[in-house]
């Protein structure tokens, strides 16, 4: 379980958001939504302490991540898989080696076991034949899938997705959405998806948190979101050109 308690972040004099409180339960998928520049990714990076807040804290299974020693923090981080916005693949090594990377450093697996585990992860993202292709030769969608394979290779308890469908065509976006659902179901992980793609939110999330006007403006289930009378949330949803009622996804 992840608990975000009274989190406040500013860069210099610029307040990003304040007093953010969120609870994310095991097996749940939370979408953090909001306009570009509202600080969604910044909030995500606080969950595994890639950034530090000005005030407040984040509890992972009841333990404050910002009060841990560095050694403890590293152990906790290994329980997270993260898909970054641009996939953040290491361009000096092949796609296969990107997925194998954490296994080579954090396990004492034999080469054959590493290969087996990598192929399993690649199979889960439908890229089992990627071989030793350079990451530069991959399309945007393939990069994201390799990113997901790398994120799940250590069998994490939590997966964080930063704009998983940004820059992808609708069909590829749907494939990524399907993968997020598959990962949540097969691996039974807690997932946090940062996005402004409402179609993605409706497909993958159980709950949504709307960051707006430098605070957590709205938080609830997807069903509650549909019925919400929150003006700015509804305006955000309309602006994303998604007409929930017309599409009849509920």
């Amino acid at each position: 379980m992840i608990e975000i308690k009274n989190l406040t972040k500013s860069f210099g004099d610029t307040l990003i958001w304040e007093n953010v409180n969120l609870n994310i339960d095991e097996g749940e998928t939370l979408a953090i939504i909001g306009k570009s520049g509202s600080g969604k990714s910044v909030l995500m990076k606080h969950i595994n302490a890639l950034m530090s807040p000005n005030e407040g804290g984040v509890l992972i299974d009841g333990v404050s991540i910002f009060d841990m020693s560095y050694a403890e923090l590293r152990n906790v981080r290994q329980r997270f898989g993260v898909l970054f916005q641009g996939a953040a693949l290491f361009d000096s090594i092949s796609a296969f080696e990107n997925v194998a990377f954490p296994l080579r450093y954090f396990t004492d697996y034999s080469e054959s076991k590493i290969r087996k585990r990598v192929l399993e992860s690649l199979e889960q993202v439908n890229l089992e034949n990627i071989g030793d292709k350079s990451t530069a030769a991959l399309s945007g969608g393939m990069r994201k899938r390799i990113g997901i394979a790398r994120a799940i290779v250590l069998r994490p308890d939590y997966i964080l997705y930063d704009e998983p469908t940004s820059g992808l065509d609708p069909e590829t976006s749907d494939e990524i959405n399907d993968l997020i659902i598959l990962m949540a179901d097969e691996l039974d992980v807690l997932s946090v998806v940062v996005t402004h793609d409402m179609h993605s939110v409706l497909r993958v999330a159980d709950k949504a948190a709307f960051i707006d006007e430098q605070k957590l403006s709205w938080y609830g289930t997807i069903e509650e979101m549909e019925k919400s009378t929150h003006k700015r949330l509804n305006s955000f949803i309309r602006a994303s050109e998604y007409q929930i009622s017309k599409r009849g996804e509920f």
């Binding site: 595994n48 560095y70 590293r74 981080r77 290994q78 953040a88 361009d91």
Partner: protein, 245 residues
């Protein structure tokens, strides 16, 4: 104000590198790779630079010492001592500030702006130990070796240029070089190379690691790394000369 902010971040980066140096055993493979990139891959340009420096110095010193009463072996003495005390270390450092410094700043800068450093941290790696330590250590180990290569190539270039132009025969060059050879000169050159190796790699790592702002940010980081490395190499050269000579 920015200077103090940068100084604080630079010290923090180094402190982090030292604090986590016990984990370095995990990342030894990176050190080997960096030693190859920093040292072995730089040898052709360093040998070329050293060779031509020695050759040009010999020809110019011969031109300056036209007076007949000065023994020709003096040219060998001047060229070899200048190379060992000053030029082999400084010329190599200035060349490597461009070659190695720019590479390090660009590599780390690109990793920083494309979130690859965040990716390393999020997997549980200590990015400073993983990225900065091997590069700085490779500099400390390889720069003295590069200095020896540059010095040797310089003396070789001097002997060849003297022979081809007829300024002095190789035997005279070597007599002059032996007359003024003091082991301390080589030790001094090695100390300089060691310090320059640290200056260039640590500044370049610092600039690259904290790069931000996309392609332009990486470009700025690379430029700053190269320029600052050159400035601090020259400054360190003066300080070492004052302290050690």
């Amino acid at each position: 104000m920015q200077l103090f902010t940068d100084l604080g971040r630079y010290c923090r980066l180094l402190f982090e590198a030292l604090r986590s140096s016990s984990e370095f055993g995990t990342y030894r493979k990176n050190l080997t790779l960096e030693m190859i990139k920093t040292g072995y891959d730089s040898l052709p340009i360093i040998i070329l630079a050293g060779f031509f420096t020695g050759a040009v110095m010999t020809v110019q010193t011969a031109y300056q010492l036209l007076a007949g009463f000065i023994p020709r072996s003096t040219i060998g003495a001047i060229v070899s001592q200048s190379l060992l005390i000053e030029l082999a270390a400084v010329i190599s450092a200035l060349v490597l500030a461009g070659r190695v410094g720019a590479r390090i700043a660009t590599e780390l800068g690109t990793m920083a702006v494309s979130e690859q450093i965040d990716a390393l941290e999020s997997m549980g790696f200590n990015s400073v130990t993983f990225l900065v330590m091997p590069r700085v250590l490779a500099g400390l180990i390889m720069f003295p070796i590069i200095y020896i290569a540059a010095g040797t190539a310089g003396i070789g270039g001097g002997i060849l240029a003297g022979f081809i132009t007829g300024a002095l025969p190789p035997a005279d060059f070597l007599i002059g070089a032996r007359q003024v050879f003091f082991p301390w000169d080589v030790t001094f050159g090695l100390i300089k190379a060691f310090v320059f190796g640290y200056v260039i790699t640590s500044i370049s790592c610092f600039k690259g690691y904290y790069a931000s702002g996309g392609a332009e940010g990486v470009g700025n980081a690379t430029t700053q790394a190269t320029v600052l490395s050159c400035i601090y190499v020259l400054l360190a050269d003066l300080v070492l000369a004052i302290i050690l000579l």
